[in-house]
Symmetry: C2
Subunit: 458 residues, 2 copies
Amino acid sequence: MKRDKHRVVIIGGGFGGLYAARHFNKAPVEVTLVDRKNYHLFQPLLYQVATGALSPGDIASPLRMILKRQENTRVIMAEAIGFDTERRQVLLSDGELPYDFLVVAAGSSHHYFGNDSWGEHAPGLKTIEDATEIRRRVLLAFEAAERETDQEKIKAWLTFVVVGGGPTGVELVGALGEIARETLRRDFRHINPADAKIILLEGSRRILSAYPEKLSLKARQSLARLGVIIRDKTIATEIYPDRLVFTSGGKEERLATRTVLWAAGVISSPLGARLAEAVGAQTDKTGRLAVNPDLSLPGHPNIHVIGDMAHVTGRDGKTLPGVAQVAMQQGKYVARTVLRKMRGKTVKPFHYRDFGSMATIGRSSAVADLRWLRLSGFLGWLAWLFVHIMYIVEFQSRLLVFVQWAWNYFTRGRSTRLITGPSPLPLFKGRIQAVAGSGDKSKSDRAERTGVSGITWR
Amino acid sequence: MKRDKHRVVIIGGGFGGLYAARHFNKAPVEVTLVDRKNYHLFQPLLYQVATGALSPGDIASPLRMILKRQENTRVIMAEAIGFDTERRQVLLSDGELPYDFLVVAAGSSHHYFGNDSWGEHAPGLKTIEDATEIRRRVLLAFEAAERETDQEKIKAWLTFVVVGGGPTGVELVGALGEIARETLRRDFRHINPADAKIILLEGSRRILSAYPEKLSLKARQSLARLGVIIRDKTIATEIYPDRLVFTSGGKEERLATRTVLWAAGVISSPLGARLAEAVGAQTDKTGRLAVNPDLSLPGHPNIHVIGDMAHVTGRDGKTLPGVAQVAMQQGKYVARTVLRKMRGKTVKPFHYRDFGSMATIGRSSAVADLRWLRLSGFLGWLAWLFVHIMYIVEFQSRLLVFVQWAWNYFTRGRSTRLITGPSPLPLFKGRIQAVAGSGDKSKSDRAERTGVSGITWR
């Protein structure tokens, strides 16, 4: 019996969308995966790109490559901008795409709680472009400090603030601590990178607040060993290119810093609002859509929303977090559910199985909460490494990432410390500064100033 | 006896500048290496980044990392904009830098023979940003072709032209041929990437005109096997976003293409002209400075110019080519010469030892002219691989590059096929186009259109 082929359109090639697509493999459907980018990004390792340990190519795989052998699936590089649910069309910025079943998995981006102007001074970490921008800013700060002579200004260049003490913030400050204390140790002549001040601001009572208290504490200790300063119950209130204002315990403080990184809030893709409008639904305060127990939209059994865009309540009554595990499980679930619906079968509600969470801190320390087992330190790090490598290997045998890690681990190196993008020079705009002893100094004077070790040329 | 320390300033961290710096190791001098970028770039492999086989981080190393253990040397990230030879100062965009000896090695960039507007439509390949831009354009062309329905337009998207048949042009078309015929073979559903037309335009009588005629012929055969079309004695006369005009044998032709890449002319850094002005010298037609036999400027024994910026005549009466080998030998020579001059010793003139040249063509073929031995095909490729790996390993044990190559070789994959940078969407500006069968087609109609193999959804 020849089965009629339904058209399934999936918006987004992140964890949710890609897992959904893969679980339609060999099914009698026509799948179209739409993404604005041509690659799937392994976001949990993005901070490693931002801190020069991995190249973008190590954590991103072309969607076409992943899905090339899945013959019922095509990939389209395009931007979805809206929905016509009556005509069953996804509106693209340059066309339309008809569907019978729709899976919306467009993810989230960072959110400055209404202070959108902060984006310029405090970049977040969601895309490859974000990561190379952060890498650029961090490395340039050390370069500028090396060139600067004013001690106060050197201090501001060497002050790095990360706002938000969730896993991303913790991993970022951990990596920054390592860069300052180990990677760059012998790279500079005028500054000591280990003088860098790395500060983590957390709004709530403790960092990693979604984790058990004990692991929070372990993370805190690991970060302290890397010299990271943690400020709990502290909220950024103003961000400028050269300083940060925050309130801590009701008191306002100011800090001179040239590098602020954002790891605090996320908000759903604006596509959520467009979809809500199209079906007459509402979004919650972070832009997520309420869904039925089978992740479909009320009144639209053929439209499913998954991942960071869906507001789903777990068995424990809490809203599911916006993490890869949730999106992956929902992607798999939704593919099976759509296939059951096509065959007219009943569907079971979605249930999230929490396998736990993890975060790394620096070179060989991590905290892992596996529900039945809590690990920290080196054991936690091994668990973290294993889980992440398994995932990456699953997709495309990215053994290289493993090799690079091993290499970095033994050499403590971060070889992809490249400042790319538009020319950042001059570092000291509008100001002429001598970078070495001025030309009229006598030679004997110079000879005195310069020793073989501990050279200072100023 | 305590020796007075002379200040040596080196402008440029390419092959010439970096080799000069390294040969001052442990010498009783204060070395300052100035570069606009924070890394040394292995330019001969840039085409591999442009074609998605390697990541930028694989072929670039932070200058600080390379020189961290060389205690008499500091690295400054700054832009040199001129010279005050009277006061012995290098003028930076944001300061001044005093020197006793100066080594100018700022290299070259591409040159559009007076048609600077071509730069926008036909990017060259000199920097990492160039390479990721070319990668972006090539990959986007395939994406756009996949979305397009007009056969003529598909053809234009799938026509790739490289202008210039030197080693860079030959290596680029070789890699493009491989991408179209192997890497992307199963990635698309509507187009066949192997239909791509890859054309190499060469102005002279034959490609690789600096090589022996026999190797030119071998390269030609290897390229033909990859489906590359070579047009000798052909000059581009007009370049637009959607077409190219060229004259071949006195006849004007037009070609619809969306991707033109530039590998034709190079010109010295504008710093050459500034230096010529400062010392009252002249530059040749590609901006190079004439130098004494010891590579110093006439009348300025303390200023040396090396690499692509120097016009040096070899023993055979020909001008030395702008290749890494020349710059590296000059860097080493100039460091020794400066040290001899400081000690008041006589110096010998620079002599270039030509160890030969090489170019790769696709996955496992190369031509190598080692003077005493000429290799082509797989043997040539092995020689090429060996020489390049030796170089890279010398600098920082970049074993990873070797691993990635081996991986690519066995899998025929190019995993860093990322389209990064500003959003290129919509691909089809100002035009609405259905990307799949329109929504009102009957289901049975759709069922007919779709088979398991050779799927076409249009």
